[in-house]
Symmetry: C2
Subunit: 338 residues, 2 copies
DNA sequence: TTGTATGCGTTATCAG
DNA sequence: CTGATAACGCATACAA
């Protein structure tokens, strides 16, 4: 196809100089109507497209946005990346993608690679937050970047979900149904988001005047089914929970399996609330009540912030908090008083 | 960080010429032991990393693989891309990602973009197959590419799933349980994969001596819940199906909802088999019997094929067929004779 | 308004 | 074995 049609070819074909071609395509100013249209038509006919490397070499800018997520196979990140991709291509940028697997070395490796590829900006869910982030390669990097779902207030732009408010609502909902023993599987071990979930949970319990039972709060790993064992143990205890809140990754799958194996029925015997984007629980029966992540908005907002940052590199850093919505399914019921 | 340390800086620092530096880093041959180690140490100290654009401009090769899928938010493609990413970064390549949404124009746009970015190769699930593919921009493009899950035998390398064999097994399984009215929601409208699924279904029925009822075969769209209406209609008909096979996208979600709304119980009243990667049906209750796509192998194989192709551009094109495995869940039961 | 010439950082060729 | 230099394709400062 348009294998190697360069600005030279266009110039020759249009009977003008290469400078003029370039000016038509970029500067826009100071070109005669005639020359402009002549060039444009040739460009169109030949399907000319500026070589990214020549331009990148000259300008120092590619039209590439890098994106690093822990794991694209996780539907949460797949959805976020999908939203970012849409926003980015709309602006005629391309998306360079990498999985960090939450490992610092992989993240650094990807960062170096992205750097040498001259990405104009970066959207990332880093493996670290807080001081650890600042001291790491990411914190030192000068690439304009936006942080997704990690706490880095003040040092970078970030978009986050208001986990605390979301889980508080969920907890209140369960409490209003009479539940007093509510289990929480936070996910996000060691992360702000996990702590926020727990905080929201404790907020709700405090208002309700319930003393939280530490046994009921679990910090499962999102990539494993460890929650299965945890939930099984809880259900076999003398005071089993009557409701449970869990992140809709492997965590929730493990929880549901434990409930099933115990011969319990949702919502008759136990109420369940999921946390996550909506599509994940499509196959659940009954339909799960959900604290919904609006991952689409999350990705979109991250992109917008990044493009802002690209324009004005030295503004103050923003931190945007997205609300979480409680979507009622059929997995919650009033507590049966025995 | 190592913002702009060039080969010049390394050369100066090491007290050699830039040519020598380049030779140490690339050629490898004909450099004295001493010079080599000197250069290497400086490279290391300065954190030198060759500028991708200069190199791309010079060599015409980037270390970038492009990847175009219909929709990364679809868990099938998320998994495939995940596997590709792993394979590609292991070879020190980067992955440029694009969503085509199955639209020809978007696909062409992405292709042009990838082209101008000088991707070394492309892994793609195109929006078209067969003659349409050959005549399209993709068929004319000279970028080394591997096709995933689309029929393009002879003109490009491709990896596909043996849908026919998979669905045949599923159908046979249901038949062995006594089912004779089996509904099939193929997905992949107008695509080889859809036709193959139907063929496998018909293979099984033929062996069983059952005349297929065209009413029972539906070509749902994977991105919509249209299957819900279809399934509802089927269940309300005078001769409802006693079993159903459906792709584990929105299609299956719609089917399950229709079954639920009809007040039917799986597997007591109706048997269900899903088609897709395993993780999608994590939340299903009961656990679904599954014709499993090994998307991991699919992505891995695609990458391997592409790297082979990069090495020897003019070999004969390969077509690799991956088997599908029937994973038994608890969603199928013997037909209840009323 | 238009054309010409330079340099961006590499690699490869060629002369030493 | 090593150093100098051309060329990759583009954008732009400068000359016309």
């Amino acid at each position: 196809m348009n294998s190697k049609v360069s600005v030279r070819d266009v110039a020759r074909e249009a009977g003008v100089s290469i400078g003029s071609v370039s000016r038509v395509l970029n500067g826009g100013a100071n070109v005669s109507r005639d020359l402009r249209s002549r060039v444009l038509s040739v460009v169109d006919r030949l399907g000319y497209q500026a070589n990214v490397h020549a331009r990148g070499l000259r300008l120092g800018s590619t039209k590439i946005i890098g994106c690093i997520v822990p794991e694209i196979r996780n539907h949460i990140y797949a959805n976020i990346v999908g939203a970012i991709e849409a926003a980015v291509t709309r602006k005629h940028y391309m998306l360079l993608l990498g999985n960090s697997l939450g490992e610092v070395e992989r993240e650094q490796h990807l960062l170096r690679f992205f750097h040498s590829h001259g990405v104009d900006g970066l959207i990332i869910t880093p493996s670290s937050e807080g001081p650890e982030f600042i001291q790491g390669a990411l914190g030192k990097s000068r690439i304009p970047m936006v942080i997704v779902d990690r706490e880095v207030t003040g040092v970078r732009d970030s978009v986050m979900l208001d986990q605390r408010q979301g889980i508080r609502h969920a907890s209140e909902h369960l409490h209003s149904l009479g539940h007093r023993r509510i289990a929480l599987f936070t996910g996000g071990r060691g992360l702000w988001s996990g702590r926020e979930r727990q905080a929201g949970y404790e907020d709700a319990l405090a208002v309700a005047g319930i003393t939280p039972d530490p046994q009921l709060v679990r910090q499962a790993d999102s990539w494993s089914y460890s929650s299965y064992e945890d939930m099984r143990t809880l259900l076999q205890s003398t005071q089993p929970p009557t409701a449970v809140i869990g992140a809709s990754t492997h965590i929730l799958a493990g929880i549901l399996k434990a409930i099933r194996d115990a011969g319990l029925l949702i919502p008759r015997d136990i109420s369940v609330i999921a946390i996550g984007p909506g599509d994940a629980v499509d196959f659940a029966n009954p339909p799960l009540t959900l604290v919904r992540w609006d991952v689409d908005s999350l990705g979109k907002l991250a992109s917008e912030l990044l493009f802002e940052r690209l324009r004005t590199p030295h503004d103050n850093f923003q931190r945007r908090l997205l609300p979480m919505e409680l979507i009622l399914g059929q997995s919650c019921a009033p507590l049966r008083t025995p």
